[in-house]
Structures are given as structure tokens and as C-alpha cells.
Amino acid sequence: MELKNKKLTNDEFYGVQKEILTQWPTGADVDFEKAVAFHQSLPEEKNFGKKLVKAKKEGKTLVQPRAGVALVQEHIDLLTYLQDKGGADLLPTTVDSYTRQNRYKEAEVGIQESVRESKSMLNGLPIVNHGVDACRSIISELNTPVQVRHGTPDARLLTEISYAGGFTSYEGGGISYNIPYAKNVSLEKTIKDWQYCDRLTGIYEEAGVSINREPYGPLTGTLVPPCISHSVAIIESLLAAEQGVKNITVGYGQCGNLVQDVAAIRALGNLTEEYLKKYGYDDVEVTTVLHQWMGGFPQDEAQAFSVISWGSAIAALSKATKVIVKTPHEAIGVPTKEANAQGLRCTKQMINMLCDQQLSNTSHVVNEMMIISAETRCIVDKVFELGEGDLAVGAVRAFQAGVLDIPFAPSKLNAGKMLPARDNDGAIRILNAANVPLSKELIDFNKEKIEERAQAEKRDASFQMVIDDVYSISKGKLVGRPWK
């Protein structure tokens, strides 16, 4: 089957489905009719997408943690705690790293070890191993909508089980869950596999069950310029919409500069809607998510609270529809439930203090929005061009050509030639665009901004500057200056 950005036919979809559902014994429990019935039995407040759309209308920012442990009851206890003691508006189910690599046997070992050691030996919940009924018990026990968050290149079985299990939101995409999350997986394959997941979402949608889809915004979380992650988010949104997805949340990982971050979130929502309309997807609901700083965190908890707070402030001031919350344990390890709830309460305080304030219409922000939008259009339009009108094909070629190029990505498909660095105000700019097709004007703008910093620091812009910026927030700064 050739890769094309075209809604899968029933034959294409159901032809593969059989095989997918036999990849692990729990696949046998997937029954679409029963799944739809289960979804329809849920009260509206438990629907993720509906809660998002309501929040967007009311200008609210919802808070959501990340969380997942190996065993089901422990996972339910964890989520209940985050809901009740953390005040989470939306809940996650983070999936463990073996499942993400379809290594269900290793996940099984992790489950057994976790039972034996009475502590979670996995960094998330192995949804596939636990199966459909386990998922439903999670959904039933909580009063809050729950999303599956993972990082799985081939998530087809996981998606089937998650949707049948009653989850109403699902993170990921063929690019965003490949390039930052895999070493050597073909992009043709992941885009196709995610067409499957998106088509499944569409099939539920057609049966009256609304499931929210969230392309994974922050990518490597490490000095990603907004135009890069925005391009990926827009491409994945368009690919999803083609398969019938109707409720999309586009995401962005905080960079740290107030003006750039507020502008980025505003631009992200606008651009996604613009492109969806332009390509004929008129009835897709678009919401936005800000991820609190996704790079290396400071180890000290007091300092970590500061980073968490700043991300919360950005989320509120930009009116992101939701914010994904870090914890004071971030630099050390998977957080305890207490630390996770602390991150949530810290975030909520900030959101509630700032929810009536706005910055998005100041001239600084408007200028920056124009820059981000122009940069993003250069890239996305080039991807269409490379694909000769087909976005799926274009995306594959764009990575080959380094037109899409994600800093520090583990994938061999990624050129890794584009170099980002902070400018003198801490905004993330492009030091060396390599093959990222920005216009000459925009390249010059980026260079000038970094040159300004280089002069202030009396050194040349170089890879050392990039390294300094990788460490900076974890060392208590935003800009990695050479001096103490």
C-alpha cells in the first residue's frame, strides 16, 4: 500500500485490523459495538474533547498532570489522588516505555516484578497487557476525563485497546511519536500506522463517540524553535483531519521567553485553524496545550517550582486551553503522587491568579506572532511542495531533505543539522538553518538576533553556545552565558 494522505477505505482499515488485534492476546477483547456502548454510557463531563471546547469558550486554562504506574489499582489510586488532592481538571494515563516499543513481554516482566517488589518497576501503565476491562475500570472510577499519553511509533493495538477501554483523548502522531521517540523506524510506516489510529478515531466519531486527538507538541523538548514544532503540529493535524478526526489539541513546549511563548501559543491555534480551513476541513475543533518546560530541570525543588510557575504563567497569559504540568521531582525521577499534586496545585494557583490577565494583544507579542507564522508557513508550504501536493509524502521527503529538522532527535531519519540557540532575550532562534527553508529575510532576522547575543557575550556563536543553552535552565538561568 502506497503512502498517501487519503482517508483509509474500509477495506484498507479492516483489512489490517484483524492482524493488529492478534498482536497480543488482549486484542481479542476489542468489540466495537460494546466499546461505543461503553462510551455512550459515560456522562458528558468525562469526555475530554468536550471539556476542552467548553474551557476554550470560557477562556479557561485547564491543568493536566502526567502519571502512570505499572499496576491498575495503584494507577487508579494515583489518578484519584491527583484529581482530589491536586485538583487536576484533566487526567493522563502515561504508558510505560516497553509498551511504547511494542515489547509486551518485557512489560509483562515489569508487571510481575512490580507485584513482587511492591513498587512500580515500570515508568507507566502497560495498557496493552492489562487490556480493555482494566481500562474501563479506570474510566469508571474517576470523575475526570482521561487521556492516553505515550510515545509509541506503532500504536495501533494500543489505540484499539485504549478506545475500546473508554479513553476519550489520545496523544501522538506519525512524526511526533517517531522522530523524538525512535531510533530507526521508517517514517512511511509510522505515518501509515498513525493514519490507522486517526481513522479509528474517525470511525468512533462517525459512531457518535468524540475522541480528542493531540499531536505531541514539544518533540525533543530541547531548544526546539516554535516554527519547527508548529509545522509538525499542523501537518499532523491535517493528516488526522483527513482520517475524520474532529477534535484536535495542538501543543507547544515552553521556550522560556515570555513574548515568544505567548506569541507561539496564539500563533499555533491560529495557524492550525487557518491550514485546516484552507484544505477544506471546516468542522474541526482546535484547542491548544502548553507544556511546561520540557528540557532539563533544576534538581532543587524550590527552583523547580519556579520553572513550573513560569510555565503556568505563560499558559494563563497566552490563554492556552490546557497546560501539562511538571513536578518538583522532574530532574530526579518519576514523581511520587505527592510531588505530582504539588506541581498541580502550584500551577493552579498561578492559573487562577492570572486567568483574568492578558498579554496577547501587545505589539511585542503581535510582532513575534508574525515572525513565527511566517517561519511556519515557509516550512509547511515547502512540505506540500515536496510532496507534490501530498502532505504525507511531503513529510517523508521533508525529513530526507532536512526541511523538517528537529534538534537532538534520536532518529536516524533526522538530519540534525539545524542548530538552535537562544538570543539575547532568551528566545529560541535558529543559529544555522541548514536546510530548513526559511526565507532570506527570516534567516537574517534569526542570525541578527543571535549575533546580538554573541556580541553581548563577547564570543562567537557556536556549538558551545548550544550546549550552554541545553544546560541553562537546569543550572538556574535561561540564557547559557559563558560567565557565572
Binding site: 515508568n123 530532574a331 511520587t336 537532538f408 556549538f463
Partner: protein
Amino acid sequence: MEENKKKLVIGVIGADVHAVGIQILNHAFEEAGFDVTNLGVMVSQEEYIAAAVETDADAIMVSSLYGHGELDCRGLREKCNEAGLTDILLYVGGNIVVGKQPFDEVEARFKKMGFNRVFGPGTAPEETISALREDFGL
């Protein structure tokens, strides 16, 4: 390549894709005068050993960030011995267990598994480099 350079095999073990630290370690170890074979992310025990045998390496530096380090590292020392790498130095570092745990307990567990040195979260490259120099008597 100079003859007397000490040889390191580095990589991120298991299903772990955290790619930033290993790139920076690669850079830092080379700057410090080591001969580095960087296997990147998602490295299996077998791959480390094959690379170490092939390059006649002096040390294997195992990086693990994502929390499954304890499951992934079990048996590595034994496999090294089987492959005849009986003297090779084994270091492990990163966020090698799930969650915030007392470092001395974690260290003891990994030393029992046969690692020569164990490093906690966010260890600076300089610290690792001086440990290497000490162990190599440089």
C-alpha cells in the same frame, strides 16, 4: 587516532530514547581525549558487548534515563565475562531507577550488579571524566 587513547563505548540502554545527554557526553569525552564509540540510544546489552569486543574498549559507559535501568542492566557484567571482557570498566549513570530513591541504596544495588561506578541524576561531564582518569591512572 592516537595509539594511547583510552577507548570508551557509550550508549543509552534498553528502550530508552533520551538522546541529548549522550550527544553531549560524546562531545565532552572526545574533547577530554578519549576515543569514543557512541552507539546512540536504544542499545541492547549485546550491542554494547559487540562494540566493546570490536574496538577493544577499556570501558562501557551505560546511560539510562527513563527509569527502566534496573531491569535493563541486569546480567550485563555476566555477559561481559562470557565474552571475555573480564577487565572492562562498567559505569552507569543518568536517572537509573524509577523515581526519587536514596542514592546510596541505588548505588549499592548497581554495584552488586557489577558496575564499577554509579552516577546519580545530572552528573556533570567533568565529574565523570575525572573518575575515568582516576580509574585509568591517567
